[in-house]
Assembly symmetry: C2
Homo-oligomer: 404 residues x 2
């Protein structure tokens, strides 16, 4: 429905040092590739940010383990169609079984490969299918593109999410390419999303994790579809090892982190625009909060409120429901200080309807595909913007029938 | 859709000492009574439990004020169709203006009357309409029934919620009658609901509030429709003043509180059964939790999860989503200890699918109107049951169009 995916030539969506191969293992569908294998020509540095759920899926448990003991990896396997979640120790054994022939082919350990999964929760992976499929693709000589990879990790996504951006440091051009899958369940901390970010820039190892964590907080952690949190959310950042004689200064690093932020925010926006059944793209801005946490709490309370989201689906400027969501956040607001804009229209100030506001002022605006709500708390100087989508009968249809 | 409302003769739904009059003030609809006036023949004891929102409506602010300084009241006015919320000090002034002629008619103060409102947020009450309507009904000699009152406070409710129960203490028969309005937004602490409970039993003043608070925690605070919290939720308990020579012992009080619990739980169930667009009535039981708080956190996380609620709407035993909701509650569970029953069928144990579970076992069960989910945490001895409804396209239709 939206065309935010940069319509660039597929040939640009490759990166020196990263091999990409996709294959169909018929996990849910015999007619599309549902496995992607990334391999690196040398050990790449990596960092991950993972779901905060107390029921993490087997691949998340395993990634976190490896992440805590190793700084590098030689590759990544991702499957769609099955989350390998709620599969207990069997799920962990299955990953080992799947990766064994792969590791032996490359003459490395299974722990040199990461694995991520997305799809239905609670079912065992079809391990032999996947193992066979992986054996097959290791024979393929031709590397594919990140667009192919982005397609292979889709579940209820309606289009693949892939973005490429170049940047220049010390007169050298570098590239950042990232892919993601999203759809429902995108909050409050990532959720039902996978994102894999690759660059040929040698991120200093000491800053690797911090750079990723900070960028995720500004992007994937500020989007929400339904307030549900997945068992499988994972964001991984990969980069080549540092060269011995290269030193980057603070400005160089900033050039990289700025590019990373743009890429992650764009992917986050693409995820929301493709949220299950979404017809409206909603920006919830909370301004002049006492703290970042207060701003975030209120913005997420509005963005996750079924009553606010259905009102917007119905193109109804029902601003009272926004105050309802502000009030329930329990974030220490002062009701009579709050003003609210819908688009550019001042709807409420000092906690009640603005004197010159007439509802018909918003009749045209509410029909827009993109709606911006701005809440001014008048308590401090912290601002935030959370992205979400409307809640309409399409969401219900998709989620009531997801498995059938 | 459900017939839980006891189909008793209207004549039973009256209580000595309580006068009831309803009238149409054309707040939203010129063809139905939208105001109810309760008056007591003498000052009645009362206690209230109110919404926890930080944006309470004017009537809630005022009730809480009066509640904090006075133990008694002479009457209650309730209107539907307009919540008098987000109306700032104007909203408080409007209540005084509405109650003035009433107070003067009965030769008491406006503060001797409570007022509650429910309906659209953010619009001013049509004060003159309501004032005129109230003047009119004070002239009516005939008192009406609690059924009439229950009808007048409905908003998107599809039937009136009214229940009557008698109990015997010291060989004397007493009556408890309660009415409620509900529909959407019923959680996590009451929400979009009003309930008024009346009895001819002289509840000892020293226990009045405590009895109400404890009963609300066991009933209205354990139901949820969409996780939204209203600006107007109020539960009020009214009883005649204590007689000088009457003493009740602990057993007598227990007889009363047990009756109160049954009444409130029944009303809570009626609210959920009439939740906006609901087709399924869902019991979420969490058993063997470490604490009551842990059990409640997990039960509400499941009951509020759009993904769990749409799965049940789609008659899909998608138990993975229940684990998703358990995991996101962040309540200190041990994943591998958890077992899950849907109805009587053991679906998962030790955190993963039960060995003998076949999904077709649940094909028939999922078509039921009433669905019970039982999560056993195997951590302690605390149990809870939360009631909720499914999330289907009817909820969307009602809430996208609520004001039009």
């Amino acid at each position: 429905m939206y065309d935010v995916c940069p319509n660039q030539n597929d040939a640009y969506f490759v990166l020196d040092g990263v091999q990409i191969r996709t294959v169909c293992a018929s996990i849910k569908d015999a007619h599309r590739d549902d496995i992607v294998l990334f391999t690196f020509d040398m050990p790449y540095n990596f960092s991950g940010v993972y779901t905060l759920t107390e029921c993490p899926a087997a691949p998340v448990i395993r990634c976190k383990n490896i992440d805590s003991i190793s700084e590098t990896t030689r590759g990544l396997v991702v499957n769609s169609g099955n989350a390998n979640a709620c599969t207990s120790s069997q799920g962990l054994d299955d990953i080992e079984y799947i990766l064994e022939p792969l590791a032996s082919h490359y003459k490395i350990n299974t722990s040199d490969f990461l694995m991520c999964s997305t799809g239905v929760i609670g079912e065992r992976l079809p391990v032999d299918n996947i193992r066979d499929a992986l054996s097959k693709i290791t024979q393929q000589s031709q590397s594919q593109t990140f667009h192919d990879a982005a397609k292979a990790i889709m579940t209820t996504d309606t289009y693949d999410k892939c973005i490429r951006k170049t940047f220049t440091i010390n007169e050298q051009e570098f590239t950042l390419i990232a892919i993601a899958k999203g759809a429902g369940m995108i909050a409050p901390n990532m959720a039902t999303m996978l994102s894999f970010i690759f660059t040929d820039f040698q991120i200093p190892r000491s800053m690797h994790r911090n750079i990723l964590v900070q960028s995720v907080e500004k992007s994937f952690n500020l989007i929400t579809v339904d307030g549900d949190t997945s068992t499988n959310d994972t964001v991984l950042l990969f980069s080549p090892p540092e060269k011995e004689n290269t030193q980057y200064n603070a400005h160089d690093i900033e050039t990289f982190t700025n590019t990373l932020d743009v890429v992650n925010k764009t992917l986050a926006k693409m995820i929301i625009m493709d949220a299950e059944g979404a017809r409206k793209f909603i920006r919830v801005r909370v301004e002049n909060a006492q703290s970042y946490e207060q701003a975030k709490k209120i913005a997420l309370s509005i963005a996750n409120s079924p009553l606010c989201k259905t009102a917007i689906a119905g193109e109804d400027a029902n601003w009272g429901r926004i105050f309802m969501a502000i009030g329930k956040a329990n974030a220490g607001i002062v009701h009579d200080k709050i003003s609210l804009y819908i688009g550019d229209v001042l709807v409420a100030e000092n906690g009640h309807v603005a004197p010159h506001y007439i509802e018909t002022d918003l009749d045209t605006y509410m029909k827009n595909k993109e709606i911006t709500l701005t809440v001014n708390l008048a308590l401090g100087q912290h601002n935030i913007e959370v992205l979400t989508s409307d809640l309409n009968e399409q969401y219900i249809a998709i989620n009531a029938d997801y498995r059938s």
